[in-house]
Symmetry: C2
Subunit: 199 residues, 2 copies
């Protein structure tokens, strides 16, 4: 039984972190309070000293999941010779497909977000806007950047959703591979001023 305020803050962070993972794996309504608390090394009774309701945890967990989400992809682009390709390759990698718990919340929680409360939806929208802005920058401006950025984000999101759901490994790999290739094709990179990130 931990007891100091410091330990409580630590427990809180651990609960949110565990929930952010489990909810990306099983949906926001998937894991029960008891299961989450157990995975955080606690018993379920203490939950309501940390959160007013389960929905409050959902809101915090979705926020944590989105924050974690873009981090990994921004890392992947740093110092890369071709930052756009690095981003796309990491997003559409078998590793990302096979580990939804630590991956992009826009894909993992899309269906849930559409039926969630206002807090969750606001966090979700902000994350979508961040992805679009990030892609616009990686594409380096030019004609129709925003259109091309939106098309790139939606095809990556759709590809990951479908690649996770199909029960055929070859088809799943093919989907990831072909979408990676299509995002490197001339059309989606048109006028991309690659070396500089400025618009």
């Amino acid at each position: 039984m931990g007891h100091s305020r410091h330990e409580k803050a630590d427990s809180h962070r651990r609960i949110v972190k565990v929930a952010a993972r489990k909810m990306r794996e099983s949906g926001t309504e998937g894991p029960g309070v008891a299961e989450i608390m157990k995975a955080a090394g606690l018993t379920h009774g203490g939950f309501y000293k940390h959160f007013d309701s389960r929905d409050d945890l959902v809101a915090e967990a979705v926020e944590a999941a989105t924050a974690e989400g873009l981090e990994g992809f921004e890392e992947a682009t740093e110092g890369a010779a071709d930052p756009l390709a690095a981003f796309v390759d990491r997003y559409l990698s078998p590793g990302h497909r096979d580990d939804p718990g630590s991956g992009c919340a826009v894909v993992a929680l899309g269906a849930d977000a559409a039926r969630a409360d206002d807090r969750v939806r606001a966090v979700y929208r902000a994350q979508v806007e961040r992805y679009i802005a990030e892609l616009e920058e990686l594409m380096g401006g030019g004609a129709d950047v925003r259109r091309r950025a939106i098309a790139a984000v939606t095809s990556m999101v759709g590809a990951l959703l479908v690649a996770r759901a199909v029960d055929d490994a070859d088809l799943s790999d093919e989907i990831l591979g072909e979408v990676r290739a299509s995002l490197r094709s001339p059309a989606s990179r048109r006028r991309a001023a690659r070396p500089s990130r400025s618009r």
Copy 2:
């Protein structure tokens, strides 16, 4: 209390149809047996004379949802001057976004399919293959048709998922509109021999 065999078959179809709608709206685990039976005009007790388990209904409902799904889009292309544009415009319409219950199961049930049993996953994969094949045909062959078809399907699926989840009507409309536009751009139609459907 209906009683003939004919009425039973009718009840069965009605239960599956209601479930196919509700599960696309709320996920396969959303609606309870009692809620589905009530919407079908029955009481929950009779459910297990129609299905061995709730999972059996999920399998039938997902199959019904996918069957219904492509129908509407194939209709939209019949007799259209530009069948590809007709398909894309219907798929990425505000009407489709706002009525998931009668829309594409690949989007609505993607997250659920990834964690569902073998029957559901097999049905889901078959539907993804049908969408890819349909798009290949609409694109009329040419270099990289399969790649372009896969990219088109994933961007439509991703666009619909995200357009439904964001809580800003302008952003949602923009996503649908820009992806519609990007699928009509030269690159995605390259070498498309439009009037004929042959490869």
